[in-house]
Symmetry: D2
Subunit: 378 residues, 4 copies
């Protein structure tokens, strides 16, 4: 890796002791040594927030009880946090992000970005005025072989793209159980208007856009609530039409018993195809017309620049989820550093634009579903 | 294996030298020694038909130039064929099958059965009168682990079925090339009103019905012709609603470069799920709530009666496509034998009913597609 | 397939109703229609032999009680069997084969060929005098992708061969159970001096020789009897040195719980490598220096002549164990036909030479093991 | 994770900018926030050492030119490093480790530990006197499913262990190329008396001992130098006998083109077996007598305590090499913390004892090889 400036001073909103994703953010931020956690408002009650902060070794005066205190407190300090990660249940993304942006912090926010397109646009407008980094943790974009796929597709190696299949299969919500994670994710007040669609369907939508650059034209959706009593969809099947004429299928489900975190992407063009599975992320299958399949491996022969820059280890030494997540974090750190030097690199990490697009996607899918599955313009 | 009567006297219509599927039928019929090829009208011109018959060693007087001659000739002989396989391009299925049924032959017919639902019903009516065997070669039903899946699903081991995903991915029609096979399959006059939908989508539809017994209620379809100048669909995505409330996704494509004959089935219930791939047919993945995945293997521990009866070799000695196809042929031979003894076993091979259902499926998918993808009652 | 002469008149010694391998031979012989079973002495007692023959529909006068009767009876008939398959427990291979050869029959014999090298040589001498076909059913040589591997290795595509790893993992003899198969295979009187070594180790040895042509120079062996009370080895690990300087590892075990019929071959050269697994026989992994792995598939792009000739179905329509076995049978039929026309093609099926080599291999491994695992000249 | 003390003050000897393994140590140490890099002597020349330290942001006065300076400098400081990682080519392990131990530092040292058994014992004696932590980075011990395998084997779930197969396949040294990594690893002066045997064979040996606890009794080895001009072995095949009567096979090679970092372990007992592959580390195959295979997944159902404690993410969110490595680092940090509280937990990370055993293994293999592959007492 290249040399770099001192670690960014980093604060977290949410992500306390019992939040799976909070620990992921900390591992990801820690991996390359580019972030130093200096403050937190780590949970939804001051008591639990402070207990979590103490366990993480936060200094007492920067271990805040509420996110409002954190933002004002850190803004006031000369050595205050430069960047805020928002790792709360979805309903808090909007208020926290808006205030953080207005206060001039760089922001890293979980997805789905916010509950409504109106919120998304307000946030976008606010962000446009301050010119700070705003990243959205569509973390699968951080996998080296996803970067490779993007480079190949956009470089024309597959020819014109005809069809995309993206699938996100999970089974952990096949019953009412599921612990704290399940609880808020199936509660409209905290999760927003979409269940599986918002939680994992948006990942799938973003992955397609990230890799292919295809622009949606219309969609037809079938949302289902399989588990009795559930308030939100736990299964989504969406047919896609893109402006280029390409077609797509997006499947997202959380009731498929036996599926763990089985995100898959296949892209088919006139000259070849690519296939990738998140659970085996170090392999990318590459098929060309009338040629044997090639298995591209992370760190192995035949890869391009983008994958190389996102890779830490030699081939055969597998990298995985945290490393991909860390690539988002390190990309943000690179960008902050570059901006300080007056540069404006094209970010490879997902930004507010991806976040807004995801909210729009949720809205259009819900509209199609509400209309009985009718094809609906994007 | 059990003891059995003398081989059935068997004739083929179609399936000459250069037809891939003709050789498959002969291998399948030969495997268990239950059929003896006694006559043929093997190609669409008398000249090529006779050349093929000669190469196969047919006696000259039973090596017919046309299928009409074959049916009348064999009917007239005391030692005439008992059973006719129809292995022609699709447009000939109807006239040949109808006449064969009327003439009192047992029939084995390729799929899709016929071009229109009206034809299908006429055939059904004719068959009802004569009471002979009429099998349709939805050959994937012959795989032992598909029989196992059927037994498990129908026996309730997965609980109530919530969702089915069936996919049939091929890439051999990604360009205009493809040889003789491609030529007739993309010609509406010979292939019928559907392309990929008819050729492989019907296999997918039948597999779901065969394994789950779920009855279709409605569907919404997206058919695409990706290859310029092609007259029929080469890609189909269909969302399914079943009467039970279950949901389904059916994908069939012939333009996915790198996919060979990648038929996959996943069935998800309230208690567990099953997953199977035709290209690795000796494994069936079985997931139960909160338990490690089990890998059921053909011939291995944990299998039921249905799989055992369809199995020839011990575990680890793989069986494949021809053996599955042969299970259809041997099932028909068993049935003919049983009927001669006055029994009427429930056939495990696909019958005219499956064939009619497939034609209906094609019609409803085309109707939905013609209506811009609208949900359409089945 | 090409046109061919009338089916060979074929008789079986052994292979009655409850013998797994007998049915395999019949399926294999039937698949391409090149053999017609005309006679049999199918079991070790006249009673059971005749019951089996009846079940298979043999005419009474050719349904023999003993193999001696079969050989003399068939020799005496004008329409007598032309070719004899020997499908008995190992100890009968020698007497039956010797007499069959002397009587002028073509012979197909199971492996391991005989119990001792002296027997092997006597058989070889007898066969040399009559000039008939003598095939040994090292059936894994019949897989299309093994033929492909042989063509690539011998054509120099891997460069100079450095190392070979051949493994044959089974678990069905991990306990004393195992049924009739287990019983005779663990009995020295019927199985010969070797257990797992003879049953599957010889397959492994032959596969290496078949694919690479490497000649053994020396070996060091560790034979183990893991199951208490067993009289023969159930596990063998053998290090190999070849004359060319190449090295090898051969593993064969029947006590590895969970392994079904897991035969694997990897060949490493100075330019590339190949890897193949019998349980997934339609894939051959091909690695070249500094290039992405290629997955060669049976029927797929990039294959040579040898694989094409051994292939019946298009890519993605899997072929398996029986088809590979049938390639041995059809190769023999081709050879018999060619000899009748005065040709002498180089056979691709395994011959007496392979059989003798296998017996020698067993003897040298036993010698090394008896000497405490010492390196022993081949 | 539990709460913990302040990060350990940590220094590195070796592991500068262009050393693959140095970055791995830093990622691993960073991941859980338990280490703070305070000092380094990062390369073999003062100039390059300091350039690397600068790039990593080390304060100038603790960015040492030589390891001797580092040890004395840090020892002299009140806030000096508490723990030293030794990440140099092998020949420096001994002098650095000995002095570090004598100076009272905790030590984390790469493997193979040292060049000779005499050195290993001297180090052991020195360490015994000071009672600090001495870990050896047999990092594969850190994988959660290896911990699971250990727990299952030692808990008797496989019954009595009969056989172990451990394989470590690489291809990156198939030619003379290979960059800086290849250069020192094939140089006896820096790598020690063994090539592939020392570099990866020792990992394989340790993995067997770690999982099974089996004690070696004797071995027979075949070492080969395939690449012309190479001074050390690049391929090792070793047959193993354990005191319990179990048998083993250990394969290690660096000339197998196409193999990346393909470490595999299979353990076979009287009741069941386990199989694991490093390149797919989130799956552990578990076979029991007469039952379908189970696929245990990291984070999934059916796992025990040891795996749970080594796991950061839910099932399906893959963890990999760095996380396993980090488990060694965090285990050491736990141990240091525990010792400060007067506890003496049984460490799960590999210790000096493993390191000494590895050196002994190398010596015995070399002895057997020098004796022409003779069985040699351990």
């Amino acid at each position: 890796m290249t040399s770099y400036r001192r670690p960014l001073r980093w604060a977290m909103v949410g992500g306390g002791a019992d939040a799976f994703i909070g620990a992921v953010h900390r591992h990801a931020a820690a991996l390359d040594g580019r972030y130093q956690l200096v403050a937190g408002a780590l949970s939804s009650t001051p008591e639990r927030a402070k207990a979590s902060g103490e366990a993480l070794g936060l200094p007492e005066e920067r271990n805040y009880g509420t996110w409002e205190e954190l933002l004002s407190g850190e803004k006031a300090r000369e050595d205050g946090a430069e960047i805020i990660s928002i790792v709360t249940p979805n309903h808090l993304h909007f208020p926290v992000a808006l205030l953080a942006v207005q206060a001039g912090f760089h922001v890293i926010c979980d997805k789905p970005l916010v509950h409504t397109l109106a919120q998304a646009r307000e946030l976008e407008a606010a962000a446009a005025q301050v010119g700070k980094v705003f990243a959205v943790t569509y973390n699968y974009s951080g996998y080296p072989l996803i970067r490779q796929a993007r480079e190949m597709v956009r470089g024309g190696q597959l020819g014109e793209i005809r069809k995309v299949i993206v699938e996100y299969h999970q089974g952990w919500l096949a019953t009412k159980q599921g612990g704290k994670q399940a609880e808020w994710r199936t509660d409209p007040a905290r999760s927003g208007p979409a269940g599986a669609l918002g939680d994992i369907g948006t990942h799938a939508e973003q992955l397609v856009a990230y890799v292919t650059g295809l622009e949606l034209d219309a969609l037809a959706a079938e949302l289902t609530r399989f588990v009795p009593g559930r308030a939100l969809d736990d299964d989504a099947s969406v047919l896609l039409r893109f402006r280029s004429g390409a077609r797509g299928v997006l499947l997202a489900s959380q009731i498929e018993i036996g599926r763990e975190n089985d995100l898959r992407l296949s892209v088919f063009g006139t000259l070849g195809s690519l296939s990738w599975r998140q659970e085996q992320p170090n392999e990318l299958l590459y098929d060309q017309l009338s040629a044997p399949r090639q298995v591209l491996t992370r760190g192995g022969p035949g890869l391009g620049e983008a994958a190389a820059r996102a890779t830490r280890l030699p081939a055969g030494h597998p990298e995985a989820f945290i490393e991909a997540f860390a690539n988002i974090y390190s990309g943000v750190a690179d960008d902050v550093t570059a901006r300080e030097s007056g540069e404006k690199p094209e970010p490879l990490y997902p930004t507010l634009k991806d976040g807004v697009q995801g909210v729009r996607f949720v809205e259009r899918v819900l509209a199609s579903s509400a209309a009985g599955g009718r094809w609906t313009a994007f």
